[in-house]
């Protein structure tokens, strides 16, 4: 006599689930939505985190940026640098360049403006960036074809331009060799000498690089720089370097403290940790919202199971009179709850992955589906079923057979 087998519970549960399909579906729907929400939202959170990291890494390594003006807003990184009024002088740049290699590897000034770039009858919008030869090394951003301008181009204020990959695509037919072609930037003729590699970020790939001296002469008309890019010699002493440069520039600008300064320095380390922190919090927030919906789904299961136990009190009594033990009844109802949660969970995984994929494919949102979130959500769904189905099943198993048989 023999043990009551799990397959029997499974059969009974399936029968009861299929005998009330709409109710079963609605019950499982809570878990479905919960699991799908966890997977999709975590994928979107991870995606945005990844996007932030990629964009920060594309800035270059060990990067300090001296900006003109006061810091604006909570973000240390300035996506749009074309509206910064240049306030950094050649002296500032010379000072930074004069620092020993043990402190600063490269420094490059940068000013930018938005401009119209024209080739023949084709034209496109671009960010025109004036800089010097150190820029490519600092930002780890090099021409894929042709070459960057040289010091002699800068000294001679030559009208030469290295165009971003997107600018190339916008202006030229694919495969066309643009080297030596004349383009017009804001009406001024430039000779194309190179194409930059593709970084995959629209703001980066729509830039056109020209010598800083040329930029100052033809575009800004100012001898100042909007910002100075610095590549620190090593990561560990970046904060000390930042402080040192701050102090020296304050002194040179005759300003008492950073509160009143006409510049500020952004540190890539700070940027990274701030952005990662923000993205991490964001992911956590999304995951918690999703987890709450899973719990709500679990309560739905519990609710329905409690109703089912009450409705089927007489059935339970009959089964007990025929020899069902407490654990047989427990197993029957628990199996039912678990089938609902596991079934809901599996469908939820499918929906979640589809939604995350769809958001990426059709919504243009970055999403990274993580196996962990799938396992976590599914595991949580099963535990939800066990936990929230456990109580009603326990109630059922503890019914007094005489009372249960009498139940109308």
């Amino acid at each position: 006599m023999k043990t009551f087998k799990f397959t029997e519970s499974l059969k009974m549960s399936l029968r009861s689930i299929t005998s009330n399909k709409i109710r079963s579906f609605l019950t499982a729907l809570g878990v479905m939505i919960g699991v799908a929400a966890v997977i999709t939202l975590v994928a979107l959170g991870n995606g945005s985190q990844k996007a932030v990291e990629t964009s920060l890494q594309s800035l270059g390594s060990n990067l300090l940026i001296v900006y003109s003006g006061q810091p604006k807003g909570p973000s240390l990184v300035r996506r749009n640098t074309t509206n910064i009024a240049p306030a950094l002088s050649k002296d500032d740049l010379e000072f930074i360049k004069s620092l020993p290699e043990s402190m600063v590897l490269h420094a490059a000034p940068e000013s930018s403006a938005s401009g119209q770039v024209k080739y023949g009858n084709t034209n496109t919008g671009a960010t025109v960036v004036g800089t010097d030869t150190g820029y490519a090394a600092i930002r780890n951003f090099h021409p894929i074809y042709g070459s960057f301008f040289t010091q002699s181009d800068i000294d001679a204020r030559k009208p030469v331009a290295v165009i971003g990959s997107q600018v190339y695509k916008d202006l030229f037919d694919s495969g066309f060799d643009p080297l030596g072609q004349k383009i017009r930037i804001n009406g001024i003729g430039f000779k194309v000498i190179g194409i930059m590699e593709e970084k995959g970020s629209s703001s980066t790939d729509t830039q056109v690089f020209i010598p800083i001296s040329t930029f100052q002469k033809y575009i800004s008309g100012s001898s100042k720089y909007a910002l100075i890019n610095i590549q620190a010699a090593n990561l560990e002493t970046m904060r000390e370097l930042q402080k040192f440069i701050e102090d020296e520039l304050l002194h040179m600008h005759r300003i008492a403290s950073m509160d009143a300064a006409d510049f500020y320095i952004a540190n890539q380390l700070d940027l990274l940790s701030t952005m990662e922190g923000v993205a991490g919090t964001f992911t956590l927030l999304l995951a918690s919202i999703a987890a709450i919906s899973l719990i709500v789904g679990g309560i739905g299961i519990m609710n329905i199971m409690l109703v089912a136990v009450t409705e089927r009190t007489r059935e339970i009594g009959i089964r007990m009179s025929l020899g069902a033990k407490s654990k047989d009844i427990l197993s029957q109802f628990l199996t039912e709850a678990i089938i609902l949660s596991v079934g809901g969970g599996l469908i939820g995984i499918f929906i979640g992955i589809s939604a995350a994929y769809g958001a990426n494919r059709f919504g243009g949102m970055a999403s990274v589906i993580s196996v962990q979130s799938i396992l976590l959500a599914f595991g949580f769904a099963v535990i939800t079923g066990l936990f929230f189905g456990g109580y009603p099943a326990y109630q059922a198993s503890k019914l007094d057979p005489i009372e249960a048989l009498r139940y109308e």
């Binding site: 006599m1 089964r319 025929l322 020899g323 654990k327 048989l405």
Partner: protein
């Protein structure tokens, strides 16, 4: 088969103690057909629940097939119900969503009988109670008499030693009731011990031995032919 000694079952209803059964002695041998009769509230249902191992006595002993039941756990009682006792209820107590044959299979499921054997046995027993051709009907597609026969088949499925019937003809018309009683007599002749609880004196008279209960005590315990209706 059944030995009951000094058996009592009290219920606590607030401050008062209700003596549903008070110090009863009763022995029933294998193959007997006993009618337990009494008005409602007499304690007959309580006695039947205890004989059926659905309830446990407050004091006294109940020995079923040599096994003292007072000391047994709930699960052990469930096993005894499964193995030794078949219940037939007034309102049949069939599971409405299961077909006749599936209802008959229920006790076999809990007895751990494999699927194939289970189905085969259930079909044989349904044939035995003249329900051939109705095996796959749902209870609500069957008449009252047919439903009660499904219930009897279910009670017989594990070959129990005792068939406990609680007002088995209460929901049936006289003619079908008589058919059920005929079936009981047949079963008894095959060696099944039959215990029937009823408040109907005519029905009770169909038994071979009559035990009359009043206020928790046994009033009379006589062979049917000596019983004064």
């Amino acid at each position: 088969m059944i030995k009951i000694k000094n058996l009592s079952r009290y219920y606590q209803m607030g401050p008062t103690t209700v003596k549903a059964i008070d110090d009863i002695d009763l022995s029933i041998g294998g193959g007997e057909f006993v009618s337990i009769i009494g008005p409602s509230g007499s304690g007959k249902s309580t006695l039947m629940n205890i004989i059926g191992c659905l309830d446990s006595p407050t004091s006294g002993t109940y020995t079923l097939a040599g096994e003292e039941t007072a000391a047994l756990s709930k699960d052990m009682l469930a096993e005894i119900r499964n193995r030794h006792i078949g219940f037939v209820f007034q309102n049949f107590n069939l599971l409405p969503r299961e077909s006749a044959v599936e209802n008959v299979e229920l006790p076999l499921i809990y007895a751990g009988v494999p699927v194939k054997e289970r189905r085969q046995r259930a079909l044989e027993i349904l044939k035995r109670v003249d329900l051939e051709g109705r095996e796959f009907h749902l209870p609500n597609e069957l008449s009252g008499g047919q439903r009660q026969r499904v219930a009897i088949a279910r009670a017989l499925a594990v070959n129990p030693k005792i068939l406990l019937a609680d007002e088995p003809t209460g929901a049936l018309d006289t003619k079908t009731g008589a058919q059920i009683m005929d079936l009981f007599r047949e079963l008894q002749s095959e060696g099944v011990t039959l215990i029937m609880v009823t408040h109907d004196r005519d029905v009770a008279a169909q038994g071979k031995r009559i035990v009359e209960i009043r206020d928790g005590h046994i009033l009379t315990d006589v062979p049917a032919e000596e019983w004064e209706k």
